[in-house]
Symmetry: C2
Subunit: 332 residues, 2 copies
Amino acid sequence: MKKLINAPEDVVTDALRGMAAAHPSLRVDVANQIVYRADAPVANKVGLISGGGSGHEPLHGGFVGYGMLDAACPGAVFTSPVPDQMLEATKGVDAGAGVVHIVKNYTGDVMNFQLAAEMAGDEGSKVESVLVNDDVAVEDSLYTAGRRGTGATPIVEKVAGALAESGGDLASVAAVARKANERSRSFGIALTSGTTPAAGTPTFDLGDDEIELGIGIHGEPGRVRRKIGPASELVEIAAAAILDDYPFAAGDEALVFVNGMGGTPLIELYVVFAEIAKILEGRGARVARSLVGDYVTSLDMAGCSITLTKLDDELTKLWDAPVNTPALRWGA
Amino acid sequence: MKKLINAPEDVVTDALRGMAAAHPSLRVDVANQIVYRADAPVANKVGLISGGGSGHEPLHGGFVGYGMLDAACPGAVFTSPVPDQMLEATKGVDAGAGVVHIVKNYTGDVMNFQLAAEMAGDEGSKVESVLVNDDVAVEDSLYTAGRRGTGATPIVEKVAGALAESGGDLASVAAVARKANERSRSFGIALTSGTTPAAGTPTFDLGDDEIELGIGIHGEPGRVRRKIGPASELVEIAAAAILDDYPFAAGDEALVFVNGMGGTPLIELYVVFAEIAKILEGRGARVARSLVGDYVTSLDMAGCSITLTKLDDELTKLWDAPVNTPALRWGA
């Protein structure tokens, strides 16, 4: 294993120290592993927090800031944060208007966020939980009952964060987050496994010419392994999985998100983008907005995921609203 | 080799089609391999173009847009674009106020941009060429006489683009680009080689526990190979190389750029950031601005580079100015 780290047990806190040094717009509680926006809690605003295992950066800490999350709780690599962390973050961002928890559908995250929500409720915070479960690849998985939460997460965080910033109340912010999730579908492709710092060896093995379709962001099994083929063929399969589940028709507007898993160069993500755009245009749907890059990663895994979100006027407006986080920034 | 591509010979044009589909703010001439901002040429504005081999994405196409480049010319992977491409781009962005060529110091790029500048001059365009040569690792290299141009490139493009956008004339824009280059130093570390689509095998070999210090962005030899060590030790070596050449003293303000080479996860880049910040703070210098992520890559190479730019009021103001490109965007 070759990694730019000091020691496997220090990687999360060392990275948090780096975030603190790089981004004065954040306030990083390194000891408790919580990334806050520096001005949290924001008066009268609904708070938004998320969290999950580390190893998916910039998710979630890189999405903390104006117009998006108020705080993020990173766990150890591929390990849920603990309820105490989530409780602390909830209280830290609650300005009295309530807090939305954005929870990716992994059993540990779901259980811990639920406990945290109950504890926060006991201490007087109103909490709404929103589950993200956009991955069409498999029903039930290694760490998940139902569908996994993957690429839709930053999209849910962005639109909910924008509504919270513009004064939306707790119920509205939770509702638009759920709507963004319901209108999003994802599918992942792995060319290689990632390597966790603790294990030091790849999580799973793939042959030199083998890929896995429908991979999870922790290397959970997908649908099938097969020989690699041209990007056009692989994207066709991913698109079919998404569109069979959630069709896009003529006139539909898509936010097309081609996400790198951490080890795949951007030039390849654009090749993938060209293919998915062609498929959508073939159906008469329009690429109305785009996101291309490494946003929901699996350490150094080579591969990508494709997320399609069906936009409407509300979602488009919230997507376009100003945001100022380390990983997504515009209009601010 | 496993890559998300259709065929090695199509990767650049396929990726350009993807950029065109993803970014309506760009106008992409796929046939001639030129990425323009959609509104080029911009009346009364000095034009800025850059270019170089593909495989370093988002460099340069991802830096085309308001407040940065007017056009970029990608060559084949790790291969200079040709003078005709640069000439076409120069004419396409020249609104009569002249054009700045930002040229990374590689012999092919330098020669071809020089030819293009002469041809453009013959056709009535005023051209100023700015050479980027920030890499302190080695003097003369596989493709370079003098120092290589690496991480400083997007910084030079950003500040020069901001001055051009605010009405700076040709001489001023070229001067501030040269100043940004003169105040920047970089050093790269490779953990693995990248693999070009055409070759299909890694450009060079590194042992399972071996790294190369001072690597170039095409895999050109660096200073030394050694066993990997903790990030703190590797960053100390990189920082010493930079700071021995260009000291930062108490009160100096740094733009600290920790750049991923393409295959290294963001969590590791933040570990590196924490270490370089500690070293600068130890000298009394301040991390005034930051950039963390994959901006000047070498396909799927694992590793990073560190660039330090010594800011002054002018550079800070130009860095902070609004920018709207696929890869760097704020305030717009």
